[in-house]
Amino acid sequence: MEIALIGDIHTVHGFRLAGVRKAFLTDEIKGKAAREKIKGLFNDGIGILMVTERGYQELKDELEEANKFKKGIMPIILEIPDVKGPLSDKIDPMRELIKRTVGFEIA
């Protein structure tokens, strides 16, 4: 299994230094062919797809669509904070999930 990244220039540099070959800029992916590109990534035997939080918001529709139609549990899409730090006004989807499942919030 491989790791892939979609993010801004700094994240791409950093994770390339760590050895991630499939590191793409958000600007490279987004646009008309975004859907095909993401689909291609999904069919490429990737285990984890890291996306920066800002990048995720730009590619939200495409990623969610691809995620819905994937086979099995791979790849796992993981949002990571970028250089500017985590987004403060974002609702954490995991937090929501936990709240919904357990019925109350766990600090």
């Binding site: 790791i3 700094h10 950093g14 590191a23 890291m50 995991m94």
Partner: protein, 215 residues
Amino acid sequence: MADILQNVKPTRMELLRLKKRMKLAEKGHKLLKEKRDALVSEFMIVIKKYKDAKTDVEKKLKGAYYNLSLSEVLIGTRELDQISRIAVRDINFDVKTKNIMGVYVPIMKTDSVVRKMSERGYGFLSTNGKIDDTAKDFEETLVSIVKLAEVEESVRGIASEVEKTKRRVNALEYIVVPRLQATIKHIEMRMEEIERESFLRLKKIKASLQAKKQQ
């Protein structure tokens, strides 16, 4: 009062069948409830792990980004871009799946992510120590990220299973069982009614027969 099942004839056969179904539904309800409780307790453990992994990743990323910014300042963005392109390699990690209460969760092995300095592939002449630190930081972050991905997927899997089980438990508790109960009661009442009817009929016949005899 819950609705009764449609198309049920008030016969003794049907009553027995319904009673059997009722027993099964109650048994299933109990089992599912136990499954739900076990899943929730498992979920709590996984949530704890998730929180730890998340803070770990955030902390490590912050440190890594700090070193990255320093490297950019020291060596220049363009140079850094070239160096980073040299440093790429294939990361292969094994994924196995574990079964927790019927939920498949991934287990990932990350032995080969952190490299030695000399394995990164870029030259030492045109680079400096900060680059090494940055690369090391990001590699360590990557290990934590893989861990986080593993835990996050378990949280998701178990959460959806908990929801499914909850729905089933509630459906049994609030719909299926009351409906069966109501139907059983309905049939019992109906059968008593029939019994009374036939008893009365017999009495009437007896009376009319006696009247005939006395004539």
